[in-house]
């Protein structure tokens, strides 16, 4: 159950996934397929932003859906949006992976160079910039990274993002402010280039 933050009054009671979840609990393959089509891209992208590893991100996305199949019959509509719960599961699974990683590695930042980098000059520049941004994101503490990912990359509302991370809206705002400050510092060079190129 979500922690009562006192800031969930803005959540709509209508859940666009509610009907699908009921059908999934009854073993409806078509409903499962629709839910996968709707949310798999979000889960993979979120996990990849958190872990910067495509294979692990795919594993996390799969684990999220396995939990959906397992717990669909227990779902109580109106408590929180199903999508919010899915994000929460994904984030917690990512935290687990990061914890395990920390036990194995030291402070290494994964090499994010894309093997399929386009060969044009602009393509190389864009790919390098993307890798640099993702590298900066990986340097943030996991909770700040999650906040930035949910609010700025997944464009969730602050209330839904806070609910997904099981924190208050104030705590979410603090994570966002610190995360953005960190990114501004890490990406100062790129930001200056961007301003210069715009004249």
């Amino acid at each position: 159950m979500p922690e009562d933050t006192g800031h969930t009054h803005g959540l709509s009671h209508y859940d666009p996934d509610g009907d699908l979840v009921v059908r999934i609990a009854q073993g409806d393959h078509q409903a499962a397929s629709e839910l996968v089509m709707r949310h798999l891209p979000k889960m993979v992208a979120l996990a990849n932003h958190m872990l910067a590893d495509a294979t692990e991100a795919e594993d996390i996305a799969q684990e999220v859906f396995v939990k959906v199949w397992k717990h669909a019959h227990k779902w109580q509509p109106g408590v929180a949006k199903f999508e919010t719960w899915m994000h929460r599961v994904a984030i917690n699974l990512c935290y687990d992976r990061l914890r395990r990683r920390r036990e194995i590695y030291t402070d290494q930042i994964p090499d994010r160079e894309d093997k399929n980098t386009p060969k044009t000059d602009q393509g190389i520049i864009d790919a390098q910039l993307s890798a640099h941004i993702e590298g900066a994101l990986q340097r943030l503490p996991p909770r700040q990274r999650a906040a930035i990912t949910l609010c700025h990359l997944r464009e969730m509302s602050n209330i839904e993002a806070a609910d997904s991370m099981q924190v208050s809206v104030e705590a979410m705002e603090s994570l966002l402010a610190r995360g953005r400050k960190g990114l501004r510092k890490l990406l100062a060079g790129q930001a200056a280039e961007l301003l210069e190129s715009e004249g």
């Binding site: 803005g10 609990a25 009854q26 073993g27 409806d28 393959h29 499962a32 397929s33 996968v36 089509m37 798999l40 891209p41 889960m43 993979v44 992208a45 990849n48 932003h49 495509a54 991100a57 795919e58 996305a61 799969q62 859906f65 396995v66 199949w69 894309d114 864009d126 910039l129 993307s130 890798a131 941004i133 993702e134 994101l137 930035i148 609010c151 700025h152 990359l153 464009e155 509302s157 602050n158 209330i159 705002e173 966002l176 402010a177 953005r180 400050k181 990114l183 501004r184 990406l187 790129q190 930001a191 200056a192 961007l194 301003l195």
Partner: protein, 159 residues
């Protein structure tokens, strides 16, 4: 009704939610808009400072979900299992309802079904136990596949 937003407040929220007011929460967007109208130069300067980071964030690579992954995820969906469990439960509750819930009268068909089920279980179990006891089947199977001088191996090598 929106409360007045100060310059400090506008700056604080820009550093939290970024340079695009559309992405700010509904609860503060109106107040921010009013501040922008009252102090356009200040507001634009504050937003301008934050804009490069937002532009950079749009360049963050997004991993796509492949068709292979979709198939992999769908292969974990246990539809058949759920349905068969549902059917088993339905049969059980049908029997229980038949026996217990029919206004104190126990219908003949439910008694017959119950007797058939129970005798099936009992008969099956005793037959299994009897077969093993009679022939020592477990030992024979173990000999055939485990021991080198078993009948199975002897027959194989002699042909």
């Amino acid at each position: 009704m929106s409360t007045l937003m100060t310059r400090k407040g506008f700056e604080k929220y820009t550093q939290i939610y970024g340079s695009s007011l559309e992405h700010w929460p509904d609860s503060i967007r109106d107040a921010a808009g009013h501040f922008q109208q009252r102090h356009p130069a200040d507001a634009n300067r504050i937003l301008q400072e934050e804009r490069p980071l937002d532009q950079l964030l749009t360049q963050t690579p997004v991993l796509k979900a492949s068709a292979r992954l979709q198939a992999r995820v769908m292969s974990t969906f246990p539809a058949a299992q759920h349905q068969s469990e549902h059917k088993k439960f339905a049969i059980t509750s049908w029997l229980i309802n038949g026996i217990l819930m029919q206004n104190n009268a126990i219908p003949a068909w439910s008694i017959i079904l119950t007797v058939m089920l129970v005798s099936g279980f009992v008969g099956g179990y005793s037959g299994y136990a009897h077969t093993l006891n009679q022939t020592g089947a477990t030992e024979i199977i173990a000999d055939a596949f485990g021991a080198e001088d078993s009948a199975f191996l002897t027959e194989e090598t002699s042909t």
